[in-house]
Amino acid sequence: MRRNGSSAPAPPSAASARVAVALRLLVVLALRNLLRHKRRTLLTAAALVFGIAIMILGRAWQEATSKAVVEPAKLSTLGHVQVFAEDAAADEGGEISFISPQNNYRLIPEPQKLIDTVLREEPRLSAGIARLMVGALLSSGDVSMEGLLIGMDPRARAAVYPALELREGRFFEPGEKGILLNRGVAKKLGVRVGGSVVALGTTADGRISGVKLHVTGIWRVRGLDAYEWGSCFTDIAAVQELLDAGDAAGVIVFRQKDGDLPSAPVAVSVTAVLRRNGIHARAWTWEEMGGPFIGGMIVTRFVGGILHAVLALIAAAGVLNTALMSVFERTREIGTIRAVGSRRSRVVALFLLEGLFLGVAGAVGGALLGAALVHWFSLHGIPAFSEAQRYSYGGDYLYTTLAWGDLVSVPVMMVVVSVLASLGPAVMAARMRPADALRHV
């Protein structure tokens, strides 16, 4: 190319024009080839459409089940990020365990200061609540039972635990030493709203202590009866008094502004904030702190991942089959193309384009069908056909929601998969020697 000629013709644009012509030719050829075997193309595309639609529906189902269990749990006990003292696990066999209340020896002093610091420096969090749990002997009259007291700060309750609802009564106010009983405990103790219970505990130095608590309500979490257990919510101040712990919390639970964002990076950043400010505490995610049902969800997600990969491979096998058939059928044609001077790369491009078109057709159709299915089930619900499903759906029906992410990511992935699946046959076609190919019957 000359450097100085302003009037020079533009060879690059000429070249690109040539490429454009060649590309157009390839596209036309690829489309013609696909249309030549209408039925086969249709079958393969249909298989892709169904495969993609099923994958989208499968993901929507999985999302919906985990939401049905996880959302209420997050918004009533787990929060998104939990902060424990750095050495909290030292007394717990190296592991902080969900519902285990016994890390009372490793508390976080001045919880409100920690909350303010974290909220100031981590904009992804919206609110935090200090909690202190203890196993205590609850008694009323001559009935008594071992129960779990979850002390929480009443001022932050609404912001962090919106899913905590009442069967009856009202939430307690700061300073009144209120308690929200669980249905079973209320029944066992024979106490109603307006009554009172006495909690007996042991202070950190081994003394027995007692606090009188006023029952202001009976709590529940909709769709998550399993989380009720034997626990009762009370004012953190009452638990602090019971343990003679001063202004300290066992755990601080934070809620994210956007609950759908992954919590792991937030937890990492909160730990960094704590370290920067010289606070000896560490953040954990709700996934790590969740109970068996969260564990079950993690396993389901893992198994679901495997099955989705298998689905993708099955769909890829269909495309591969079609591409191979098309290569074998067109051996002579490929020979001719090569004999008249077509480059190998062009043959590869031709077959890849066929795979691409097939993939795109399947992806568009699949996305549409998948969206339609998910939409239908979001209106009519997927029925629960066993007790266990009713349990994990939180009702008789599970309503799916359309996730735009899946609607795009699954089809795009399948387009890539079908192009990749046709890569092998394309290279195979390009490797043919024209002479042999022409002789082929």
Binding site: A47, G51, I54, S97, I314, G318, Y391
Partner: protein, 426 residues
């Protein structure tokens, strides 16, 4: 008649190697994934139910419940809270009378919640009084990591869970005191010496303290009483369970344990009824598996139908020839369905072998459940997947069935071809 056709079907599979390898490979992969997923679910089921049977409920348990008992859905529901009088005699009677009905052993135990104190530290305590010599299952499920299992007849010994020992900072030989409130309202205490510490298992046994039945009875002032009678059967199949249950029911009815606290009655519960909490986890996992495999089947089915339709298309001339030579339509249908069957059998077996080997490998090494929520779910810190023959069979049969059914439509479309036109086809 069918046999030679089946032979032809198998031969046809080999003729179109590439296509059948792809369709079969898809199904084999599907089978392997299915077997693997069931291996995980079955491993969880086995661990949770084994724990439940060995540690809490036996296969069947006799327990006193309030008339309006409602399961609270927590892991400690199985433990009774009211007194079952003369439990040792009742257990002996169940064991003797039920021997022919498959009862291997019946042992009483007494469960009481309280606090454990050591030095200046305290912990919630699930105190369980047992007859140590007659608890081989418990011993196997919670073997000693340090020291020894609870010695028979030692009223001052306590066998502690490792997390609880850590929390109290006690080792073998150290003293622990228990404080409980008896149902009569008195506060009693017991001083004991740690004889052994057992390895951490399912997190919900983290606060377990085992003492001898006699010591626990003294602690709560219940001479001869217990809360549960744990009945271990020779095997845990549903059939054995119902047979054993009839025998236990009869013994309980004849023994008529009493006097009971007001508003309570004796119940016989199977481990699935008593351990509703574990059972809910098991069922939720199994239900998720069913749904996921449903999606897998649908996709694999589409793939197989696709492959079969292609096969019909490719062999139009051949079908024409067969029909021209006088083969009936019904036989053409059968041939194609049998091809589907043959393909299904070959790929399901291959897939089951692959998936089975993966499960067996992991069953030998175990999958660590590092995160606490996973340990809760799997009932232990390591998950050992299990290869249940029934799950294996279910996976294989369902894939074979799927493959066969998927061949039905293509088979009919093949049989509808007119011989004359089919022969013309290129």
């Amino acid at each position: 008649m069918t046999l030679p056709l089946l032979a032809i079907a198998f031969r046809n599979l080999l003729r179109a190697k590439r296509r059948n390898a792809l369709a079969g490979g898809s199904m084999a992969l599907g089978t392997a994934a299915l077997v693997f997923a069931s291996g995980l679910a079955d491993g969880i089921t086995r661990q949770l139910s084994d724990n439940l049977v060995a540690i809490q409920t036996g296969h069947l348990q006799v327990v006193v419940r309030p008339d309006d008992f409602e399961s609270q859905n927590n892991p400690f529901d199985a433990y009774g809270q009211d007194r079952l009088p003369d439990a040792a005699a009742l257990a002996r009677r169940i064991e003797e009378e039920g021997r022919l009905a498959g009862v291997a052993r019946a042992v009483p135990y007494l469960f009481v919640r309280g606090s454990a104190v050591a030095g200046s530290r305290s912990s919630v305590a699930w105190i369980v009084g047992i007859e140590p010599g007659r608890e081989p299952e418990l011993r196997a499920a919670q073997p000693p990591a340090e020291g020894v299992f609870l010695p028979e007849g030692d009223l001052l010994a306590v066998y502690v869970a490792e997390p609880a020992a850590r929390k109290l900072r006690v080792g073998v030989g150290d003293a622990v005191s228990f404080i409980v409130q008896t149902p009569q309202g008195a506060v009693n205490s017991l001083d004991a010496t740690v004889c052994g510490i057992f390895r951490k298992g399912a997190p919900w046994y983290d606060n377990a303290f085992y003492v001898t039945l006699g010591a626990a009875q003294a602690l709560v002032d219940w001479p001869g009483g217990a809360t549960n009678v744990k009945v271990i059967l020779d095997d845990g199949s549903p059939r054995a369970l119902s047979r054993g249950r009839a025998a236990v029911d009869a013994s309980v009815a004849a023994a008529r344990p009493g006097p009971l606290a007001k508003g309570t009655r004796v119940r016989v519960e199977s481990y699935t009824e008593a351990g509703r909490f574990s059972w809910a986890i098991i069922q939720a996992n199994q239900a998720a598996l069913v749904m996921l495999s449903g999606f897998l089947f649908a996709a694999a089915g589409v793939g197989v139908v696709n492959a079969m339709l292609m096969s019909v298309r490719e062999r139009t001339r051949e079908i024409g020839t067969m029909r021209a030579l006088g083969m009936r339509r019904s036989r053409v249908v059968r041939l194609f369905v049998l091809e589907g069957l043959a393909l299904g059998i070959v790929s399901a077996v291959a897939g089951a072998l692959t998936g089975g080997v993966a499960v067996l490998y992991l069953a030998a090494t175990g999958i660590p459940m590092k995160v606490s929520s996973l340990a809760w779910m799997a009932g232990g810190e390591v998950l050992y997947p299990a290869l249940e023959p029934s799950s294996l069979l279910r996976a294989v049969l369902s894939i074979v069935l799927l493959s066969t059914l998927a061949a039905v439509y293509p088979a009919f479309s093949a049989s509808r071809l007119e011989p004359r036109e089919a022969l013309h086809h290129v």
